[in-house]
Amino acid sequence: MIDTILLLITTILKIVAILLPLIISVAYLTLAERKVIGSMQVRIGPNRVGWKGLGQPFADMFKLMTKEVIIPSNSSRFLFLTAPILSLAPALAAWAVMPFADGLVLADVNAGLLYILAMTSLGVYGVIIAGWASNSKYAFLGAMRSAAQIVAYEIAMGFALIGVLMVAGSLNLGDIVRAQSGGFFSWFLIPLLPLAVVYFISGVAETNRAPFDVAEGESEIVAGFHVDYSGMAFAVFFLAEYANMIMIAALTSVMFLGGWLSPIDGFGDGIHWFLIKTAFCLFLFLWFRATFPRYRYDQIMRLGWKIFIPVTIVWIAVIGFAIYFEIGPWFQVRA
């Protein structure tokens, strides 16, 4: 009995140790976004709160916390308030299987990759339910767009992951990283380059980030699914979006960039490499937002269904061929 309680307490402490840095990262990612885009557009960005604007995330947070949560009339009150939680919970739950360094993982699950895929596919409920429960045309349009978009890109994402698990020979995220050991040229980025590109772009689409942010589309549907949300309810959506971004960036670094492994074989492996790679992928998110104009809806659908899915299917066939004939140093099936 004592053992069970101890296990419970240590697990909760571990969860806190993951979530607290994650939420702080979310707060500072919002600041980084504004600063990075600011400097790309030759502006300064926020610099009033604290030293060089470093207090800005907390100012934003306190502002949102003290605002009133308005519930629209004729909306479904229960679902309206559940929707933000439905979008945040999967974004946080997926972190359970993330390997930060060798052995540094909350749950070393054998089917980790499947679990991640299942959790990221649940995020769409928050968006759909929010759009429907708000009882507003704009919110509903945003929800419909988002649902169609996420369903389309999830297929490409799943196919890209099939390539990863074929080469790694495992669904365990830790084993996937270990299969990439041996320096920069052993990372899956090189043999699986098309899949890595498809995965990352699908990840951008899945998190509803620019240039795929038609679900929010300020210019035509104001703010899409969260147009009626205010105060903390809105902040939770915001938190979920950025947690999902960090999630996709971390997954890209685990599956294609060798996770905690150093680019030079056996030279200073550790969590710092994982963090550097994740930060780089996050920078790409911000870079995309500053560079590309928003895709039109039919262009998004064309890219997802007619380009990404064929590319992944062809590359899966190529990998299968290479594994069968044992071509190249990367494609030896690891027992």
């Binding site: 409920y125 339910i129 429907w132 369903v151 669904l171 039919d298």
Partner: protein
């Protein structure tokens, strides 16, 4: 009562409650959400059986994809419940008959073939055992033919669904991106030399 049994009963209670709410709740969107809850708790129960592959696949396929499309359709249709209830009494005898037949069939099956002595509790697998791997081994060796037949049937179903719903509309306007990219200056631009009209 061990912790596992306790969790099993909690999950089962939620499962039965959610499943019954699916057919009793008035709003179709709430019904769909209760169905999501049903699938989710069902996946939890499968997880207790150490069938992690099936449990996660249930969440991935049914909750993550099928129910999203369900919700999509249910939200788009403005379902008016009143006309659906009109024929309730006249259909009730037939419904009761079908229900009774199904109940009798289930009772016969369960009482004759599914006694607990016929199905002893499965031995707990050791720590290195991977459910996913075992399933893959069986599917791609022993049951390869059946697996491929199922795959072909699913492919035919996809093709049939697309063929049934696809309508070609000759007046639809669409862009061909490859043509747009390959446009040259001479296709779009005509330079006209003309003298100025006024000095």
């Amino acid at each position: 009562m061990s912790f596992e049994i306790f969790i099993f009963y909690v999950f089962s209670a939620i499962l039965v409650f959610a499943a019954s709410r699916v057919i009793t709740v008035r709003n179709p969107v709430f019904a769909a959400m209760f169905l999501v809850l049903t699938f989710f708790t069902c996946a939890g129960i499968w997880m207790l059986l150490e069938a992690e592959f099936l449990a996660i696949t249930l969440v991935l396929v049914y909750v993550g994809a099928v129910m999203v499309l369900f919700l999509f359709v249910v939200m788009m249709l403005d379902i008016n419940v009143e006309p659906l209830r009109e024929g309730f009494v006249s259909y009730l005898p037939v419904g009761l008959l079908v229900g009774a037949i199904m109940l009798i069939e289930m009772v016969i099956l369960v009482t004759r073939n599914f006694k607990s002595e016929q199905f002893p509790a499965p031995a707990r697998a050791d720590e290195g055992y991977s459910n996913t791997e075992a399933l893959g081994q069986l599917l791609y060796s022993k049951y390869l033919f059946q697996f491929e037949v199922a795959a072909v049937i699913l492919l035919v179903a996809i093709v049939a669904a697309i063929a049934l719903t696809m309508r070609r509309r000759p007046d639809t306007k669409y862009q061909t991106p490859s043509e747009q990219i390959n446009v040259t200056k001479s296709d779009r631009l005509r330079v006209v030399q003309m003298p100025s009209e006024k000095q």
